[in-house]
Symmetry: C2
Subunit: 514 residues, 2 copies
């Protein structure tokens, strides 16, 4: 058994059974091992930004890492932007990066690069495996590192000779250290604060945004009047009918200031104090109101759900939470297709248990409003601001949850970054419906241009934000990659098409011209 096979066996034994990849010569032994080892599903993508984004979407839903398999420094480099997003999502992810044979590195061949330099900014754990004798153990450690709470990116470099030389055999899975329990004293301290009569917001991030954590938070709110909040962009949140509704922080800094005005204490559950996404001239970056006290119930590596449940008990919360969403489906709209009518259609037809991968940017407002009272679903958003995440994350989520419908809501500008995702969806027959909101613009930048104080923009500046010339034809782009694609120009057309996509399994694309 060579090093590559010992590593693949170890990954499978450690529970990593999906590998998203775009391999090259230096990865051929890992690729060859896929047929020798039972239980590893290999999924090809035509660009590494799809590979890493899909591994992120998979990890968010499966709550365990997928492996990637990338081709040396440049292959990793192509995947870095979505690894940045995955890092911001605290997604467990095992990056396997092939490299030149150890003895070949000295020759600085064309594909040689500072691989560690590329990997370090996104990796919580990094190791290059210098020998086939240790590759398996290094793989086990990588999985353990990826799973260390709240989840992180572990990058393991596999030189070609480590892969092809004789190894000892697989290495046993290592123990996973789950989230640490929050101590009772910390819970009691927060419970006492919740009785001080101050206007309180509880800001939650991470796994506590799933149903159980939200239930506990809603119970606390019903007893204490505290407000339940989440960040503007959340890796994963469970929402829809029957679930506690959460106030999402607005995007722009002055909106956040207005929203948090009067808040006297902030309780953090896995979250950081809110800051503005960008800096703007004359506007604040730090968003906690002056005089508001910041308190931590749970750090990111701690068990936020358990802490909220303990806190609910400590404050004597009732069994029933307040602010539970009641099922309320919008009627089907007619006429103009825009973010709001599209949102009504999406909310109307969304099937129970759907997963929404949301990179709709300015077009996401309508869907966000109307799906809040739709059937229960999971919502995944763009965590690190690096656009081009939505299509790959949808791809990976569909691999993780084959029995759930995935709906990807995407702006046209961002979708062009990683449109190769559609081919993988077609190849793997994934149950993803992609809605491209085609406003032919980086619409958010028209807003931002004003906000940063760049007044009276001229034609050259405005043309840098405009995608009209030429217009992208998403039906042809989708069809060209094997995905059944259609165009909707009215609310009625969109409703008919979206309904059909929700009925039929498999990949579909709707270009929603808005």
């Amino acid at each position: 058994m060579n090093g590559a096979e010992s590593l693949v066996r170890t990954l499978v034994d450690s529970g990593v059974d999906v590998c998203f990849t775009n391999p090259g010569t230096s990865e051929m032994h890992f690729v060859a091992a896929l047929d020798k080892v039972e239980g590893m599903r290999a999924i090809l993508a035509l660009f590494e930004g799809v590979v890493t984004g899909a591994a992120d979407g998979y990890g968010r839903m499966a709550e365990k890492p997928a492996a990637t398999l990338l081709h040396l420094g440049p292959g990793l480099a192509n995947g870095l932007a979505n690894l940045h997003n995955a890092r911001r999502a605290d997604t467990p992810l095992v990056n396997i990066v092939g490299d030149h044979a150890t003895y070949h590195a000295q020759y600085d061949a064309p594909l040689a690069s500072d691989l560690k330099g590329f990997a370090s900014p996104v990796s919580g754990w990094y190791h290059s495996s210098p020998s086939p004798k240790t590759a398996a153990a290094d793989g086990a450690r990588a999985v353990q590192a990826a799973m260390s709470a709240p989840g992180q990116i572990a990058t393991l470099v596999l030189p070609a000779d480590t892969a092809w030389l004789e190894a000892e055999g697989p290495s046993p899975a290592l123990d996973i250290v789950g989230p640490a329990a929050v101590e009772g004293a910390a819970v009691d301290r927060i419970a006492a604060l919740l009785k001080n009569g101050k206007k309180t917001a509880i800001l939650i991030r991470g796994a506590a945004l799933k149903e159980d954590g939200l239930l506990a938070a809603g119970r606390i709110a019903s007893k204490t009047g505290a407000r339940i909040m989440c960040d503007t962009f959340t890796a994963r949140i469970q929402r829809g009918a029957g679930r506690v509704m959460v106030d999402r922080l607005p995007y722009f800094s002055e909106q956040i200031e207005e929203d948090l005005a009067g808040t006297e204490q902030l309780i953090l559950v896995g979250a950081k104090p809110p800051v503005s996404f960008f800096a703007y001239p004359g506007k604040a970056s730090w968003m906690t109101p002056e005089g508001c006290e910041i308190n931590v119930l749970a750090h990111p590596h701690e068990d936020g759900t358990g802490a909220l449940e303990a806190l609910a008990e400590a404050v004597g919360a009732p069994a029933e939470p307040i602010n539970v969403a009641k099922l309320e489906l919008p009627d089907l709209p007619t006429g103009k297709l825009d973010s709001f009518t599209a949102g009504q259609v999406v909310a109307h037809y969304l099937p129970e248990g759907a997963i929404v991968s949301d990179e709709a940017a300015t077009s996401g407002i309508g869907p966000a409003i109307y799906t809040a009272t739709a059937v229960p679903h999971d919502h995944l958003s763009l965590t690190g601001g690096a656009i081009g995440q939505g299509l790959p994350v949808a791809t990976g989520a569909a691999v993780a949850c084959p029995d759930r419908k995935v709906v990807c809501l995407h702006g046209d500008g961002g979708a062009m970054y990683t449109l190769q995702s559609l081919w993988t969806q077609a190849r793997e027959k994934l149950d993803v419906t992609t809605v491209i909101f085609a406003n032919r613009s980086y619409a958010i930048l028209n807003v931002e241009l004003m906000r940063v104080g760049a007044e009276n923009p001229g034609p050259k500046a405005l043309s840098m934000l405009d995608l009209h010339n030429p217009e992208l034809d998403w039906v042809q782009l989708g069809q060209g990659m094997g995905v059944n694609s259609m165009r909707a120009e009215t609310a009625e057309e969109f409703a008919e098409q979206f309904a059909a996509c929700m009925r039929e399994k498999g990949p579909h694309l709707i270009e929603a011209v808005i």
Copy 2:
């Protein structure tokens, strides 16, 4: 005048008048300055790999840097693979990377990252401009650094407040230090070696692969019998009728060994000793034959052309070189379309002064053979092995040389990496004809799988190299981005379509099904 405007003015004053970009919020002041400053052409691309690859193609042809404008660390990250290729090509290039305002960095907002970490592996020069007072001078230094021989990547980080705060004004252009002259003693030493009767190869890299350098090399060869060679992958070489023919090093290590067998001395002109592209079990990495002496005529930062001209005089070379290509155009083929018949068509119709951007990989063999005796043209190849370079490089070359036809020969696998290039070609009405060799495969990897010793590959391994399921439809992909696209399945169809593309200006795409 704010910092952004002072920087744009300085770039223009320093001769940088093209900016390839995909900007975001933190770059809006730079974007706004484009209308305030005369003389900077801004070209939008829908993905940063296109931005950086286009800047590479531009720099190779214009012999001066284009600027990029990228959106923080993740925007830079998306451009890194083609920056890796540009680094290997020694292309002059000024990367401008927007960043959070200096005072905002402390808050670790979602888009914050280790920007220097991402940039360092590809940058010969790196600086973050902390103040609007120094941004202009930093810009002038970046251009100077990019132009320092043989050319390199200079990355200048522009924090948002540096861009928006009041600046002093533009900074004057700095002197460019051109390639250093090779000393007479070095020339004389090599001249003496060329009389020792040893079997000699002169390996040339860089600017000396243009007409003048090759003429001198050919004269030396005609006097001394030395063999004139170039690397497997060259940033730019001038070839075709009337030019000295150069032996290109083969790709695979055992072919190089055979090719160089018996060589007793190697003279390097801007080149490094040859090494194999990848390591293979049991095969050598170091390709200089045992006992062959390595001598340097010119280092990469030195004037290789001048050195070759001086050497030609020193050895008393005749005015006329040997091995000059005579115009020999293949007849038009019929029947099966493959790399060879396609190559005959390309060579037959290639217009004088064409620029060939070649990432055809396994399909490039035919075109390489037949264009060797076609009309004079420039040939740009994939320098760093990071696939997805050919389409962007063609885009940038067309911007640099608007009066020359650009022909991009590309494998289908690599083309999917940066297909967004087609939209920029359509938007800017660039005179690029793209030929996609559609073999529905990462064909080279089928060869490599065997070469690395991964025997009896199974169906999972083979499926990772196969692009049949589903087949990409390049006509739809091209049309979807506004490029007039067509499909050829026979040599006759390809000849008719390619001829039409050579007659008409503007972007075209031919999917050559082979």
